[in-house]
């Protein structure tokens, strides 16, 4: 009985010691990893001691498990400590490397804050990207077709829904919307045309002679606006509100018609095709020394999204 109880006490003590050693290895890792300290050795020796004194003669598993865990921890620590052993001629210090990077990139050290020029990372990336063997980025040469689909789907769904519900309501809704759209376009065109006619009349009254056609329509800042101006002028010609003719120098000039003249005479049907390319446009701007447009630049309206989509 006595022997059994002393054995029990011994094993309990051994277990307590083992547990405290294990706890030590886990909590004080930095001490174990420190190449200067011999804590690793001393703990190993302690556990050896315990084995000699406490565990001889016991058959219970829990001490063995504890001892196993202790040895496991010690071996992991040993490996990590070995990893830290540097035998190089030049030892790598991460903080030193960080400082060197800052210097290399030309960063400012204001006290603790480090600031760089805004494009420093892009430049470094350019230097460094040849080192990577990654697949290059791909983008479709002519753009992708993906964007077109959602618009189509919505329209189809709307039509389907309309069919499911009252048949009479569906089509009229669509027509109404379409009419509005058309109306809107017509309104803008006639609005612009009247605007241009008014500008022309004002300039004509000011200068008292036919205006140079190009000086009138060309907008030196925008080729597209110039084309639109020519387009609107053609409406004025069609309706007989302005006259475009060639002057003595064979340059086209434009002037508004006298009021009521269009109603008196029967309009002659004359057709003329007129083309202008971008280089020609630029030449016009140079030749006629057009610095500002007579017709004010219009902001691009909502009717232009189709043009701005990638082809």
């Amino acid at each position: 009985m006595d022997r059994a109880s002393t054995n029990d006490a011994r094993t309990r003590e051994a277990r307590r010691n083992l547990r405290s050693l294990i706890h030590d290895t886990e909590r004080n890792r930095h001490e174990y990893l420190n190449p200067e300290s011999d804590k690793l050795c001393s703990t190993l020796l302690k556990s050896d001691d315990l084995y000699e004194n406490g565990l001889l003669g016991t058959t219970s598993c829990s001490e063995k498990v504890l001892e196993g865990k202790l040895l496991g921890n010690l071996s992991v620590l040993g490996k990590q400590r070995a990893q830290k052993l540097k035998t190089d001629t030049v030892v790598f210090d991460p903080t030193e490397f960080a400082e060197k990077i800052v210097t290399y990139l030309g960063g400012n050290r204001d006290g603790g804050d480090i600031t760089f020029a805004p494009d420093v990372w892009t430049k470094l990336g350019e230097e460094v990207s040849p080192c990577f063997r990654g697949a290059p980025p791909l983008s479709p040469l002519y753009g992708s077709f993906v964007r077109g689909e959602p618009v189509k789907k919505a329209v189809v769904e709307r039509r389907k829904k309309a069919n499911e519900k009252e048949i009479t309501r569906g089509p009229t809704n669509a027509e109404e919307l379409r009419n509005f759209a058309e109306l809107a376009e017509e309104e803008t065109t006639s609005r612009e045309v009247t605007k241009i006619l008014n500008i022309l009349k004002r300039e004509y009254r000011a200068s008292n002679s036919p205006l140079c056609y190009f000086e009138f329509v060309v907008n030196p800042e925008s080729f597209s606006q110039t084309i639109e101006n020519i387009f609107y002028c053609s409406f004025l010609v069609r309706d007989g509100l302005v006259i475009v003719s060639l002057d003595d120098d064979k340059l086209p000039v434009i002037q508004p018609c006298e009021e009521g003249a269009s109603k008196k005479k029967k309009l002659e049907q004359n057709q003329l095709a007129f083309s202008i390319t971008k280089p020609q446009f630029k030449k016009c701007v140079e030749t006629f020394k057009i610095t500002s447009s007579m017709i004010p630049t219009r902001s691009s309206g909502p009717s232009q999204p189709a043009a701005s989509q990638p082809l």
Partner: protein, 239 residues
Amino acid sequence: MADETQLMFSQEEQTVSKQSKVLCQLSAEEISKIVVDLVRYLLIMSQKKLPIKRSDINKTVLGDKSRGFDHFIEMAKERLSLVFGMELIELELNSKSYILLSEFQDHPYLNCYSAGKTECSLLMIILSFIFMNGNVISDNQLYDCLRRIGIDIEFHHEVFGDVENKLKKDYVRQGYVEYSRVVGAEPVQHEFKWGLRARKELSKLKVLDFVAKIYGEEDPSNWTSQWEQANAENAPNES
């Protein structure tokens, strides 16, 4: 005699003949179409920088013709190499996930990085820290170093954004770094290592050269253990 030859059919040959059977059933046009689809699928999927899994390929492109996978992938490999100059490799032997690499190295006009140049620079810095520190660095140490170059993970960086997330999630998913728990430490610590993709896309020699450049006049061979590692990497390629 006929019996003997039949007995000589090994397991491998049976699989090969199964695949050939699949191919024989298809016309040249169909095969060509599948290969084209496969190439296109691989190109598009590689844009996300995530490894492409064999199971996804089977599901999306091959469908019921998955038995011929090996043949198709070989043809796609060839096509990618001849036409696009890209190499299709498995991340790890038998891992069944693939990535695309460029076949050109050090080309002066081909700039390869899809996420942009800034990502390149951040990755290079992080991977150099890890490599030079002995192929592994603790998370706290890495964050400290990043702070010393003006990248504090606590704050949103104006160029890189949420760096912590990038390190722990994005780069891990893409295969550039591995983020794992340190064995046996309490409280819990983590460490970073090079990921599989980093090992394929970068060479240690290049990283060492980069580090030497940052240090100025240093000769890369001064870092003896890293120098040895870098050369050991190249040696098997030189045959």
